[in-house]
């Protein structure tokens, strides 16, 4: 019966008939919409708890239908197109945004091998050998939605917001891409299913911890979320690139933002947290429900990332734009480049079968260099701090004060 034994995920998916592919696509779409509705509600409730409020609790049980009600209300609003707008581009922009973020789910493996309506397959729409690169390329197409929305509105704030957010997304995409290189080196593949399979011993969040941290930071920058939501900094740019959008077109941007969060979380889960695999020590659960239980593990990890997103938003103030860009280009990118060199060297050493002592010596040398550099940095920074604290001579204040009355009235006279 089990003719699919020993097949790779790519071969397993490759033999799917058309109706299964269509059904999978439909399921992914439906799940994304559902997750967006739930995550809008979840975000508002979690932030409310963090701010000691209650949050939406009126529509439906626990306010669960709040996002649905908001969506219906949005759809029924008047759809305005500004006179100065470039009509065609104005309409296309939100469509590009939404399409791109849905497409990025095509390469995410949700489960291992399962029985899907009587056929052996895996819950993954397609498995191409360059799956992770595909994800990045789709993200870079999604940026067009933001840029075009900003430009086509024919107004200053959206233009500035659009330029800001696209500059931000592009810069953080570089850091994100570099953080993934270490994963490629270790997994020996760019296909998402192979990377999950390669994590059967250790998750890459442990083995490649610096890459994981860099990815986690850059995924927040990539999705334009707090504390990196400079594109829609209300105090500076009104609403950023979607200032002029209303009704369903605005709803599309809203949808795109949340689907994007889920997408980058799903990719983080796939690349660093072992994807649909169970937590360490619970590997026996992977075969429960004929393999469908792996979906539960996947969902738990993705929701964990989503909680992280909300937690960041509830905790951290927004960064200043120049500090943010400086952080991306001058910290994240150089650090990931150096880290890639280290990882590549270690990987080559272990693949070439270098003796243990060489590997240990190399690692020790790297650790020493990092410590030395960081202590030098600290010393330089302390010096600057002390120099900045030195304020020199304090002069007498000179206020423009009204002339004093001729007879001086003192407090003591009235007592």
């Amino acid at each position: 019966m089990d003719t699919t034994e020993g097949m790779t995920t790519a071969e397993l998916i490759g033999q799917d008939p058309g109706w299964i592919i269509a059904l999978k696509g439909l399921i992914i779409f439906a799940v994304c919409i559902f997750l967006t509705l739930m995550s809008v509600w979840g975000e508002r409730r979690i932030v409310a708890v963090m701010q000691m409020r209650i949050g939406p609790n009126r529509v439906g049980k626990f306010g669960l239908l709040q996002a649905l009600a908001d969506g219906v209300k949005l759809a029924l609003k008047e759809d305005l197109i500004p006179k100065a707008a470039d009509r065609i581009v104005f309409i296309i922009a939100p469509v590009i945004s939404v399409t791109a973020c849905f497409m990025s789910f095509a390469v995410i493996p949700f489960t291992g091998k399962v029985n899907f309506f009587g056929r052996e397959t895996a819950m993954q729409l397609t498995d191409i050998p360059v799956g992770v690169l595909y994800f990045l390329s789709i993200a870079s197409v999604g940026v067009y939605g933001i840029v075009l929305a900003g430009w086509s509105s024919g107004s200053t704030y959206p233009l500035l917001g659009g330029l800001r957010s696209s500059a931000q997304v592009i810069s953080y995409e570089v850091a994100m891409g570099l953080s993934l290189v270490a994963v490629f080196i270790y997994a020996g593949s760019m296909s998402t299913s192979d990377i999950v399979a390669a994590q059967d011993q250790w998750w890459y969040s442990v083995v490649l911890f610096p890459s994981f941290v860099i990815y986690a930071i850059s995924m927040v920058g990539e999705t334009n979320r707090a504390p990196f939501d400079l594109a829609e900094a209300e105090g500076e740019l009104v609403g950023g690139f979607h200032t002029e959008y209303s009704s369903l077109k605005f709803a599309l941007f809203f949808l795109a933002e949340y689907v994007n969060i889920i997408a980058v979380s799903a990719l983080a889960t796939t690349l660093f947290l072992g994807g649909y695999r169970a937590f360490p020590g619970l590997g026996f659960t992977e075969s429960w429900l004929g393999g469908w239980f792996t979906l539960f593990w996947f969902a738990i990890k993705v929701l964990g990332f989503f909680f992280l997103f909300v937690w960041l938003r509830g905790t951290l103030p927004r960064l200043r734009y120049d500090q943010f860009m400086k952080f991306g280009w001058k910290v994240l990118i150089p650090v990931s480049l150096a880290w890639i060199l280290v990882v590549a060297t270690l990987r080559t050493l272990s693949l070439e079968g270098a003796p243990q002592s060489v590997v240990v010596a190399f690692t020790g040398g790297i650790v020493l260099i990092v410590l030395a550099v960081s202590s030098l940095f600290d010393r330089a920074r302390d010096k600057n701090e002390i120099a900045a604290r030195d304020i020199g001579e304090v002069s007498e204040p000179s206020f423009p004060v009204p002339a004093l009355p001729a007879t001086k009235a003192r407090l003591e006279d009235h007592v």
């Binding site: 581009v89 050998p129 360059v130 990045l136 390329s137 900003g150 233009l159 760019m190 009204p402």
Partner: protein, 266 residues
């Protein structure tokens, strides 16, 4: 035509369908790129053509090339292009006057040369030429095959090209660098210490609001200091430069109402 190509056996059915849907769109888009008036629309159509080409590459089993085409050309190069178009504000239709001397002649010669090159290449690749070896080249995987070629046989040209690109980037940075932007920008700490530890604390709590003591609170009426002189920094420098400032004395009362010193709290 579809049947012809299928009979020749060069394309398989799904690939042929894909081709005959996307290729006309690509051709239309590239023609549109030439005829549309707005530069941004042109850039968008070009991006569409690039994406279509990428899909063709993927359909032709060159997955890595296709994806990289999207990431690099559509994602980075076209995006920078769009940035510049938007920032410069090329909204109006382009003028057809010749800015650079001999521009048109050189452009036509270059276009003819490029066209000839393309025709000869395509001719060489299609006429009397049987393509073999794709399966062999992709044997150990498309990415692995490319990587082993780039990093062994072609490593020198690869490095030369990357050095060239870095030089170009450095050159652009040097040319675009202006001395004005270097330095002169105070940090928040420096600004704060200048405000509270400077010569005067007069503005420590912020600049005075316009119209204070002037019996009028519009933004173009300077505030009065307690001694009756104008507080110059209570109004925006822009208004001052434009000369859009009102004289606060026009709002002053002819004479101050008399205040009885003895029974001030009446």
């Amino acid at each position: 035509m579809i049947r012809l190509s299928l009979e020749i056996g060069q394309t398989q059915k799904p690939e042929a369908i894909l081709f005959y849907i996307l290729a006309p769109l690509a051709v239309l888009a590239s023609l549109g790129m030439l005829v549309v008036k707005k530069a941004v629309h042109s850039a968008l159509l070009l991006a569409w053509v690039m994406i279509t080409l990428a899909i063709f590459y993927i359909a032709l089993d060159a997955a890595f090339l296709g994806i990289v085409q999207i990431v690099v050309y559509t994602g980075a190069v076209m995006m920078l292009f769009l940035f510049i178009l938007m920032l410069v504000g090329v909204d109006a239709p382009d003028s057809l006057t010749e800015n650079i001397k001999g521009h048109r002649v050189v452009a036509i010669v270059a276009a003819l040369g490029f066209g000839g090159l393309l025709i000869s290449l395509i001719g060489r690749a299609t006429l009397n030429h049987v393509s073999v070896g794709l399966a062999m080249a992709n044997e150990s995987g498309n990415v692995q095959g490319l990587a082993s070629l780039i990093f062994t046989q072609y490593v020198f040209p690869f490095e030369v090209v990357s050095a060239l690109l870095i030089t170009a980037a450095l050159g652009a940075m040097v040319l675009a660098h202006s001395q004005k932007s270097a330095g002169a920008r105070l940090s928040q700490r420096a600004l704060s210490s200048a405000r509270f530890r400077g010569d005067s604390l007069a503005n420590a709590a912020g600049l005075p609001s316009s119209g204070v003591f002037a019996r009028h609170n519009a933004v173009d009426v300077p505030a009065l200091l307690p001694d009756g002189t104008l507080a110059k920094n209570s109004i925006s420098g822009v208004l001052n430069a434009r000369g859009d400032i009102q004289d606060p004395t026009q709002y002053a009362l002819g004479s101050l109402p008399k205040v009885d010193d003895e029974s001030g709290d009446k």
